[in-house]
């Protein structure tokens, strides 16, 4: 038997140690911090992306260091989902990097929890706001603070792969409504089979919440109200998913199995589908993944739900934020300004981070090829551009992912549309209430 008193003392002592250790990880307060150009400063900077983007950031940081030789910038990058997993853990432990790339889907969550530095005091000082469109700049204002400075804007678009379409022997999608697009997908899939090309017209386009949003907006409805309440009901979602039930069953879309096998790449990246709707800044990544065999892409406007409706919108594609816990607030602001506004940095990135939001970065970058296409595209949809929806509610990232997962399950046939609707509303309920 244990000597109970001594054992208890021992356990108490050990637990105490553990608590002390755990206590050390509490969040650090502060923020701010003045910048002295002669003092050695280290900024930690995290962004999502791949080797290509990391290489471009290295070049940009070299330029930054020519001007600010005493600021050393330590970068780290991860693919998008892993990036947020890592930030989430860091946020819990109070150790976000000084400067970090943020996305509009997560901005509210981070801002409302007091994790991001209010950049407002630096606006017009260290951060030049002149070159920004006010609405775009405003998308970084959440929970009464300026939580992020937009690097880029993007808009929803439809990419097609002309080289693949030529192999299959069909014309590019000529525009039209959703039925036209679906019919074009069916034709392309059939033609590919006839031509002996392993390709499909597209994946199931009801798999993305943005398409649902697009159709809702065409009827004048946002997905969520200003108060963050869902602005659609079960029937809306059921109707949306049912638009392609017939095609899902008939095999007009690429089988989900083939899609899963390509992970982490997508079906469009691997030339298995001839079209895909997504944010227009994805083009550069697609081209890089498709490789030399497919040197060009077309970018056209998504199918029309309601003629004349303002269903599309421009949003901040990627923002730069500073951690509330940084000791180098001013240095972070200077760095952010350089990364979003500097003309040479703009030239280095082109549209790798999306179409630059800053006029100086955009105009100085000599956009050509796909970059120019994206610029033209965003100009061409001006008539369809409406106001951006309110900054996504906390938990939108999860809701978006759940929508995508249910889309894949509909393709597998492991859930019916009714079950998927139920599950989505259950999950949305949890996400909104946590």
């Amino acid at each position: 038997m244990f000597n109970t008193k001594r054992t208890a003392a021992l356990i108490a002592a050990a637990t105490g140690t553990a608590l002390v250790l755990a206590g050390c990880s509490g969040g650090s307060s502060g923020g701010g911090g003045e910048f002295d150009p002669d003092e050695e400063t280290t900024l930690n900077f995290a962004f999502w992306g791949n080797d290509v983007r990391a290489g471009l950031y290295d070049q940009a940081i070299d330029l930054f260091n020519e001007e600010y030789p005493n600021v050393s910038v330590q970068t780290s990058f991860l693919p998008y989902p892993d990036y947020w997993e890592r930030r989430q853990t860091e946020a819990a432990g109070g150790g976000l990097p000084d400067v970090l790339a943020t996305d509009i889907s997560y901005l509210r969550q981070y801002s409302e929890n007091g994790l991001l530095l209010d950049l407002e005091p630096y606006l017009g000082e260290q951060i030049d706001t002149g070159p920004f469109d006010e609405a775009v700049l405003g998308s970084g204002e959440v929970a009464d603070i300026t939580a992020g400075i937009p690097i880029s804007t993007n808009a929803w678009g439809l990419f097609t792969n002309p080289t693949l379409l030529a192999e299959i022997g069909v014309e590019d999608f000529a525009g039209g409504d959703w039925d036209d697009y679906t019919a074009w997908i069916e034709d392309t899939t059939a033609a590919a089979e006839a031509a002996g090309v392993e390709a499909w017209g597209a994946g199931d386009w009801t798999g993305r919440i943005q398409v649902f949003e697009l159709q809702q907006r065409a009827q004048g409805e946002e997905l969520f109200t200003e108060d963050g309440e869902p602005n659609f009901d079960e029937d809306d979602l059921r109707d949306f998913w049912n638009q392609t039930t017939e095609q899902r069953e008939a095999g007009a879309f690429i089988p989900q199995q083939r899609v899963e096998e390509q992970l982490p790449l997508g079906a469009f990246d691997t030339a298995l589908t001839a079209s895909e709707m997504t944010w227009d800044n994805f083009g550069a990544g697609y081209l890089a993944n498709l490789g030399e065999g497919y040197p060009e892409l077309n970018l056209i406007e998504p199918p029309v739900t309601e003629e004349g409706a303002k269903d599309l919108y421009q949003k901040a594609g990627m923002l730069l934020s500073a951690s509330a816990g940084t000791d180098h607030g001013e240095a972070a602001a200077i760095f952010i300004d350089f990364m979003v506004n500097d003309p040479e940095v703009g030239a280095i990135f082109g549209t790798n981070r999306g179409l630059p939001a800053s006029e100086t970065a955009r105009s100085s970058s000599d956009l050509s090829g796909l970059d120019a296409q994206i610029e033209e595209y965003e100009a061409s949809i001006a008539d369809r551009l409406g106001d951006a929806p309110p900054v996504p509610i906390v938990g939108f990232g999860n809701i978006e992912e759940e929508f995508r997962v249910l889309g894949t399950e509909l393709m597998f046939g492991t859930v019916t549309v009714d079950e998927a609707v139920d599950r989505f509303f259950t999950e949305m309920d949890v996400a909104l209430n946590s």
């Binding site: 038997m1 244990f2 000597n3 001594r6 054992t7 021992l10 356990i11 050990a14 637990t15 140690t17 553990a18 608590l19 250790l21 755990a22 989902p81 892993d82 947020w84 997993e85 989430q88 853990t89 946020a91 819990a92 969550q109 981070y110 929890n113 994790l115 089988p255 989900q256 199995q257 083939r258 899609v259 899963e260 096998e261 992970l263 982490p264 938990g395 999860n398 992912e401 997962v405 894949t408 399950e409 597998f412 492991t414 079950e419 599950r423 259950t426 949890v430 996400a431 209430n433 946590s434």
Partner: protein
């Protein structure tokens, strides 16, 4: 993982002895006969604790402490950012009444455990028997069969596995030669679990080595006696090998069951962190990881972890209870 570490058992030995020594005199209620001895014993007890300290710190700080936290979190809503909010049993209620993903996750995990473990044990025992049969060259084969377990848990193997079982990958093409057209396994809702089981079975080396060691312990006389009595190979296997090996079988069964419940890395990598296709690699641990770190529902994930712990504990308990009827320890007269 925790179950495979033998440290707790080793460490509790001296601890128990030290504690017993320290409290022995008091238990008797008599004054100590030789105070000098008592002092020395007490010193030894203290020394025992001193030597235990490094392990105790780790055990409390890295195991007990986090477990206590996790139990607390399981009764809260905790998104990692703001402070946990106490919500009582809500997480557990949601788990069992309002979460089809959890039910599916539990189902595929059970299939994986209940199908994979027996196959893996049988494979390990079979190969161990073959290796035990003859000594010549067994060293080489032992190493060869053990190799997959050495590299088995690594990320690279999962990646290779993924490539092998894709459409037009080596497995698909290989089976096509025999006229079996299954296509890729990785993205196939009904084939991905079998693929995961094959991956687990393939890593039978560790289990096999333990079986082999057990087989070497079986006294040759028993076989000779059985043979003299006219027992055939099958009879010898059933009447000598299995009973003599039963403690080792029990040990392996327990470890493998617990290990299988904790399958994570291979599923996470093969599905690129999604638990797909259609949730078929969304094993409990993958699911709780996704809930915790992708959805930011740490409280809910903690509840899942505790349910998993209880299930594993209950299964281990049941196994221990059945021990009496089929596990024979040497020197046991049953």
């Amino acid at each position: 993982m925790t179950a495979t570490t033998p440290r707790p058992t080793n460490a509790s030995g001296p601890a128990r002895r030290a504690a017993a020594n320290a409290s022995a005199p008091r238990k008797g209620g008599k004054p100590p006969v030789r105070p000098g001895l008592k002092l020395r014993e007490r010193r030894e007890g203290l020394a025992g604790y001193a030597f235990l300290t490094p392990w105790l710190i780790g055990f409390v700080g890295l195991t007990v402490g986090p477990m206590a936290y996790s139990l607390y979190f399981s009764f809260t809503r905790y998104n990692l950012f703001s402070d946990p909010q106490w919500i009582g049993l809500d997480n557990y209620i949601r788990l069992f009444t309002d979460d089809p993903q959890f039910i599916q996750s539990a189902q595929i995990t059970l299939v994986y455990v209940l199908v994979g473990t027996p196959i893996k044990l049988a494979a390990a025992l079979g190969i161990a028997l073959l290796l035990n049969y003859r000594d010549k060259g067994s060293g080489f084969f032992r190493s060869a069969f053990y190799a997959p377990s050495l590299i088995g848990a690594s990320v690279s193997v999962a990646i290779v596995w993924r490539a092998m079982f894709s459409s037009n990958g080596p497995v698909d093409s290989g089976l096509s030669i025999f006229g079996i057209e299954l296509g890729g396994w990785v993205g196939n809702v009904s084939l991905v679990v079998p693929m995961m089981i094959i991956l687990a079975v393939w890593q039978f080396g560790g289990t096999m080595v333990i079986f082999l060691a057990g087989l070497k312990q079986v006294p040759k006389e028993l076989y000779e006696a059985a043979e003299m009595d006219g027992a055939g190979a099958m009879r010898r296997f059933k009447a000598v090998t299995i009973p003599m090996l039963s403690p080792v079988i029990f040990f392996n069964l327990l470890l493998e069951l617990i290990g299988a419940f904790q399958v994570f890395a291979s599923a996470y990598i093969i599905s690129s962190g999604t638990g797909g296709p259609a949730g078929m690699t969304n094993f409990i641990t993958v699911y709780l990881y996704k809930r915790a770190f992708q959805d930011g529902q740490m409280g809910y994930a903690a509840a899942i972890a505790w349910v998993l712990l209880v299930v594993v504990a209950v299964i281990a308990f049941i196994l221990f209870r059945t021990q009496k009827s089929w596990v024979h320890y040497a020197g046991d007269n049953r």
